[in-house]
Symmetry: C2
Subunit: 343 residues, 2 copies
DNA sequence: ACGCAAAATGTAATCCATTACATTTTGCCT
DNA sequence: AGGCAAAATGTAATGGATTACATTTTGCGT
C-alpha cells in the first residue's frame, strides 16, 4: 500500500546531496556534522518520511534496545504494577520491553534465554521466577540480568527488592503492640527468598516478644498465593485451639482469604480477628475492612530494575552484585485492631 | 566472558563441512537438505552452541517476529488478563510481545507507531486506546493492527470483543426479572464503543420493560473507571429521590465503589440495594457479597487477537474488516437480589 | 555404462545502517 | 598568499543470515 520503493538512508543521502555517512551521523547526533548540513538532512528525512530500519542498526551495533521482563504470571496485579514501572522507565530511556509469561515452565525459560543470545534482547529483568540455581548462575554469567522482588542469595547478579525481613518484624511487632499474643502466619509453599525472610522475620519477632510459636499456627498456601488455598489455610488456623487472635499473611490475596474464612465462621474482622496482608494492592482499600498491610514500592522497584540493568549494559563492567533495598511502608488501616480481651 | 569469537553461521558451516546456505536451510527446515547432512549440521550447531542472530535474519527477511500490545494501563487487571492471553498465543506461534503502556499519551502513540515502520514490530494489538479517528485510520492503512475490547466503528481494521449491547440488555432484563423497576446506571466519561453500547443497551432494556429512565439515575465515573470517581457517582445516585433499588455499573471496580458507598450509608447489598458489575475480574469473588457481573473471556480475546493479527500478517491480503464477537456470560452471584418490597 | 532429470549443495548478492579510515574543506596564523 | 591543523564529509568495509541462481551429485532408466 502506498510507497513501493523502500526509503533507505541512501535515498535520504541523495536527496540531501550528502553521503550516507553524513545522514547517519546526523541522525545519531554526531557533533561532527555542520548545523547547516544537518538541517538539510533533516529536511530530506522529513520529506521522504524516512524511518531507519532498526534491524540493520541492531545488526551493526550488536544491540537491540529491548529488555526482557520475565514473570511467572502477569495477571497478578503485583507483577503488573512492577511491569508498569519497568515500562515507564524503559520508555524514558528509549528501550522497549518484551514481556515473557513463563508460568514457571522450564522450556519457557530456555526459550527466553535464547532471545538474549540471539540478540533479540540486551538484558532481562526476572520477577520471582522459579529458576533453579545452577541454571540461573550460568545464565547470569553470559547475559545481563537483574532480579526484582525476589533474588537468589549468593548469586553474582544485581537485585532490587524491599527488606522483607525487617518489614515482617515491624508488622509482627506492630501486632504485638496492639496487644496480640496469639499470632498465626499464613506463608506460601515456595522457595522465594521473600517467603523465607518473612518466615524468619515472624519467628524472630515472636521470640523477641517472648511469644509462643506453635506449629498449628503456621499454614502454607499455594506457591502462587491463590485465594482458595489461602481459605483452606485460614480455616485450619481458625480451627486451632487456642485460636489465634491475629493472622499475618504473606500476601494481600491471602489476607482476603483469611477475612473471607473468618466471615464464614461468623467472626468479625478486626473485632474478633486481626488480619494483615503484604504488598498493598489497589483493592485492599476497595472493600471493608480496609486491609492493614505492608506497602511495596512496586512501580519504583520496576523503574530501578531498569536503571540497574542498563548500568550493567552500558558500562560493560564485570557483573556487579549490587543489591538495592527500597523503603517499604506499614499501612495501618482497618483490618488490624486490639484483640478482644474477653476472649 | 567466555567466548571471544562470535559463533556465526559461517563457523557452523566450516565445522559441518558444508556451505552457509545448507546450514541456513537446515535451520529453517527446508526439505531440500539430505537428512544425513542435516544431522551433521545440527551436531555442529550443538557443538558450537550456535544461536542465529535474529537481527541479521530480521534485516534480510524484513520482519521481526514481534507484535506490539498497546494499552492505556497495564496495571488494570482487565488489561493484564488480555495481555496474558496475547502472550500465551504469541508464545505458541513463536512471536514475542512488546508491551506499550500508552497512558493515553499522544506522543506515546507516535513513537509506538514508529516501531512498526522501523521494523521493530510486525503488527500491533490495540486495547482500548484513546486514538483519534483520523490518525488511527492512517495508521491502520499502512500497518497491521487489530483492535481488542474496543473498536472504532467503520474503521477498516479487524477487532475482537464481546457484544456489549446484548450483554447489557441481558443484565438489565435480568434485574427487571428480579423485580427491579428503579434501575440506575454508572457509566464512564469516555468515548469507548463499549461505553456507548452499554448505555444504549441499558436505555433499550429500560424502554422494553416499560421502565422510567431518569437523568438523575445516570452518573459518570472517570474515563478510566477509578474507584473514587465511582464512589462519588454512587453517592449521588443514592441521594436521588426516589432512590434506585439497583445500580448497573459498567465495570467491576465501579460496582465495588457502589457497594462501598452503600455500606457507608448503612445500606446492605443486596438486601437494600442491588449492584452489578462488568468484566468478572478475579477479586469479584474474593469478598462478600460476591459480585453479580458479566464475564468477558479476556484470555480468549487476547488469543484471538493474535490469530487475527497474524492472519493479516501472513497472507498479506487487503486489510479485512473482520469483527469477532466472543460469548460473554452473566454471572449470577450475591450482589443482585429481588428488591425490598416494603421500600 | 551412459544420459538425464531430480535432488542436493554451493556461490555470491542482498537486506540497510554504522563506522574506520581516507579525503576534502574550512579557518586561522604568519 | 601559503601552510597547516581542525573540521567536515565521503568511501567502502562491516555486521550475519537468507535466497536467487549456478553447480554438482544422485539415482534411475535403458
Amino acid at each position: 500500500m502506498g510507497v513501493d520503493t523502500v526509503v533507505t538512508i541512501e535515498r535520504v543521502a541523495q536527496r540531501a546531496g550528502v553521503s550516507v555517512a553524513t545522514v547517519s551521523r546526523t541522525l545519531n547526533n554526531s557533533p561532527a556534522v555542520k548545523p547547516a548540513t544537518a538541517q538539510r538532512v533533516r529536511q530530506a528525512v522529513e520529506a521522504l518520511g524516512y524511518v531507519p530500519n532498526q534491524s540493520a542498526r541492531n545488526l551493526r551495533r550488536n544491540e537491540s534496545q529491548v529488555i526482557l521482563a520475565l514473570a511467572p504470571n502477569f495477571s497478578n496485579p503485583y507483577y503488573s504494577r512492577i511491569l508498569t514501572g519497568i515500562g515507564d522507565r524503559a520508555w524514558e530511556l528509549e528501550y522497549s520491553v518484551l514481556v515473557c509469561n513463563t508460568l514457571g515452565h522450564a522450556n519457557s525459560e530456555r526459550r527466553f534465554l535464547k532471545m538474549m543470545e540471539s540478540h533479540q534482547a540486551d538484558g532481562a529483568i526476572l520477577l520471582g521466577c522459579h529458576w533453579d540455581y545452577s541454571w540461573l548462575a550460568r545464565f547470569a554469567q553470559r547475559s545481563h540480568i537483574v532480579q526484582c522482588c525476589e533474588y537468589v542469595p549468593d548469586l553474582a547478579c544485581p537485585s532490587v527488592s524491599i527488606d522483607n525481613y525487617a518489614a515482617t518484624r515491624e508488622m509482627v511487632a506492630y501486632l504485638q503492640g496492639l496487644g496480640h499474643r496469639r499470632i498465626a502466619m499464613i506463608g506460601a509453599d515456595n522457595q522465594y527468598i521473600s517467603t523465607r525472610l518473612r518466615r524468619q522475620g515472624y519467628l524472630d519477632a515472636m521470640e523477641e516478644g517472648g511469644l509462643e510459636v506453635r506449629e498449628d499456627w503456621y499454614r502454607l498456601a499455594d506457591a502462587d498465593y491463590s485465594f482458595v488455598s489461602g481459605q483452606t489455610a485460614a480455616q485450619a488456623l481458625l480451627a486451632a485451639a487456642p485460636r489465634p487472635t491475629a493472622i499475618f499473611c504473606v500476601s494481600d490475596i491471602l489476607a482476603l482469604s483469611a477475612i473471607a474464612a473468618a466471615q464464614e465462621l461468623g467472626l468479625s474482622v478486626p473485632g474478633e480477628l486481626t488480619v494483615t496482608g503484604f504488598d498493598d494492592l489497589d483493592y485492599t482499600t476497595m472493600m471493608h475492612p480496609h486491609l492493614t498491610t505492608v506497602a511495596q514500592p512496586c512501580h519504583e522497584m520496576g523503574r530501578q530494575s531498569v536503571d540497574l540493568l542498563l548500568d550493567g549494559l552500558l558500562d560493560r563492567e564485570e557483573p556487579s552484585e549490587q543489591q538495592i533495598f527500597l523503603p517499604y511502608r506499614l499501612m495501618e488501616r482497618e483490618s488490624a485492631a486490639a484483640p478482644d480481651v474477653t476472649a
